[in-house]
Symmetry: C2
Subunit: 503 residues, 2 copies
Amino acid sequence: MFETAELGRKISRADFKEQSAVLRTELLKVQQELRRERRFQVVIVFGGVDGAGKSETANTLNDWMDPRGISTHAFGIPTEDERERPEYWRYWRTLPPKGDIAIYLSAWYSRPLLDRVYGRSDLAGYDRDLNRIATFEKGLVDDGTLILKFWMHLGKRGQKKRLDALAKDPLTRWRVTEHEKENWKMYDQFEVASDRLIHKTNMDGAAWRLVEGEDHNYRTLTVAKVVCEALQAKLNAARPAQRRPSVISAGIGSGAVNVLNHLDMKQKLAKKEYRIQLEKYQGRLNLLTLEARRSGLSTIFVFEGADAAGKGGAIRRLVSALDAYQYKVIPIAAPSDEEKARHYLWRFWRHLPRAGRVTLFDRSWYGRVLVERVEGFATESEWKRAYAEIDDFEEQLVEGGAVLIKFWIHITKDEQLRRFKSRENTPYKRWKITDEDWRNREKWEQYEEAVDEMVSRTSTGVAPWTLVEGNDKRFARIKVLSTACHFLEATLKGRQKGADGKK
Amino acid sequence: MFETAELGRKISRADFKEQSAVLRTELLKVQQELRRERRFQVVIVFGGVDGAGKSETANTLNDWMDPRGISTHAFGIPTEDERERPEYWRYWRTLPPKGDIAIYLSAWYSRPLLDRVYGRSDLAGYDRDLNRIATFEKGLVDDGTLILKFWMHLGKRGQKKRLDALAKDPLTRWRVTEHEKENWKMYDQFEVASDRLIHKTNMDGAAWRLVEGEDHNYRTLTVAKVVCEALQAKLNAARPAQRRPSVISAGIGSGAVNVLNHLDMKQKLAKKEYRIQLEKYQGRLNLLTLEARRSGLSTIFVFEGADAAGKGGAIRRLVSALDAYQYKVIPIAAPSDEEKARHYLWRFWRHLPRAGRVTLFDRSWYGRVLVERVEGFATESEWKRAYAEIDDFEEQLVEGGAVLIKFWIHITKDEQLRRFKSRENTPYKRWKITDEDWRNREKWEQYEEAVDEMVSRTSTGVAPWTLVEGNDKRFARIKVLSTACHFLEATLKGRQKGADGKK
């Protein structure tokens, strides 16, 4: 495949001067339009071998465009803060808001490629890494991000020539590190692994462009032209149609809901028994979280449920078993403007805990397939693809060393009415009930259908849902606490076994 | 001083039960009002000796209040990301938005106190640390934050009793660490240092409350009551009057401006000479930033100047000498809603670079004493106290290992008019000129006065302003580049000397 990028293409100095002058003006113009409209963001990725001009080309793009709307990201050895989170945390954090351009040097491609070349991963592991990349980029593309990927190529001889030239000049000798020399010796392995990488991550909307890297002028103009034209094309594309509420399928209220129907909503717990169990499980949970802290296991709780289902009360009983410095409650309401300008999962990535801590999401990323679906804040294609996006996100959380515990607290429609009325009649609870709650209630059946689909589709092996019968608050709270203990115990035991097995 | 907190005060179980029930309801009520109005935020600090109930009381407050609006922060050994920034970076990052409550366990008090007790700092160094704390807290108070500080006290004997009791019980024995035992042996030193700490950081709006920590019931109720009453009082306080544009002093246009009048605005650079100098300084700057990178020196540039003064062009010439992965340009326009909910310096703290990187602020924290002053977005007392706040902020940047280079690019009123008109007549520049630019121009004299005062008051030893005569763009760009080289060279040389001196 790489032969097509070893043809010795060159552009003369005079041609470069002429063409670059036009291109720079064009680039600035489209960038301004991008910034003014703020309809989408641009992610530019440079991959390829050392010396093929990745960072030089990034420099040139930065130089040619308005520095206020463009940034470049390179990643070294992960810092402590980064090591304690899933691998992609540091990439998510740097994603640009709509209207901006971010250039990535190797970034998420670097670790998988080096691991494969130096034999630290087998072919199956490499493919898993490449799939993760494809899923990540597809998510951004689906969200409207323009992704442009350039594979900067330099043949084996071209690379040797470059290293020799650098080594000869005393001013540049320091640039030829042991690391670069070693990489050159692995050239053939790099080529095989790169070939696979390009094929597996070459997708609609995130295709690789192979660029011959030997001649500075040629590679610079090639890249700049692609960037300019792709930006222009996307800016010219018709704006997407106004978002409309999804069409609700016909099955509503006709018994289509399955999962929730099987709950025994009559389960109760007497006050005395509740007190005994509360103390028991809170004590156990406290010890378990201390053990989790020591072993670096993060815990992430998700609480979902209808208005007045008792999420807040359950969370309060749970956190009062924890030491205040080791947990955070993240209430999810309307997104801030910084959050609105990015992929909907960005706001959750930014709150991921360090190793050993506990994070409780009071409502969560599931809003996408619940409120956003029912109220039409997300288009049908947006919420439909969210199931797979969430699945991938949660897989990364668990792989990154967290246990994920998800609760749907369920109440019946009658019970909700009773609680709404009681809130209205209690002075210090009245603030808790709003017009919006009454409006949501009118869509009860649509919400039930959404919940049903959510639970069926996102109750995965690594992150199953726990349905909590919530009509009796005491019963619900104890079920939440005991489930939390159960999951933590099982995960800690599994880790212990894994550690023992390694000895 | 501490005798008053060794009186053996206790509250019986029955009294506690009765009083806490009332208090909890009250606390929830005021918290809801705080969250609804979002007029200010609350910072609660717990200081004091081990075992006096700091984290237990934080736990209780968390337990009693709505977890969605309260968070607790404890800090261990700084992480790599934290070590590479000024000491206060990690505290600024956690400051709550308006409407929220954040509890801090020891936090910014911990390092100074331990350093003093264990002899790592002398008295002068300790006082400097305490002054920094006082300045930090004063800034928050001035910004409207409610700060409540509790010094949890336990006498020498009380502490010994507690340690012995913990050590006797097999279930709690692990809590008595070597570290705690060692701290106890230093009790007298702790008392002396704490006494000084309390006196030096006891201020209007951020006063210490000494709390007797031996009895759980007494200390819990005492703290909760203070929190409840202080919150209630501040919520009841009359809302501040509507912000009005500051009254402009009488001196305008009457020759009151001094600094800018002394600039020789006729300075020019011919095209040929410009080319030579540009290449020379860009090359030098590139090498200097590589050296800075290796030695962990961060560089922070500030660019200020009237509309059309040429900030963008100067920045572009500067960054094109840098490698794209090591710098970031931070354009400062209107704050996001997350930024608006916090102290105006918060948005700058969050962008501070890691060691060895370069950050360029295109407009900056000086907006407070320029546009916010002239347009009346800040009250007179806000912009007047900003000089001292900025001074302290910049001192921390430099202490944290950065070199700070500040440019005011100056143009004359006539030259601005010429540039505005030229922009209007050039199709691809037209987007750069807005109605707002014309409106700002009408206030030229007021801006000049503000600039004059800014330069005089914030040109400090650690961070002097460089005034750039900007009527000739070529001259201005070279002055920016050569100044940047000069500052970097001097700082790197100073560091080298310092390092040599240590050998």
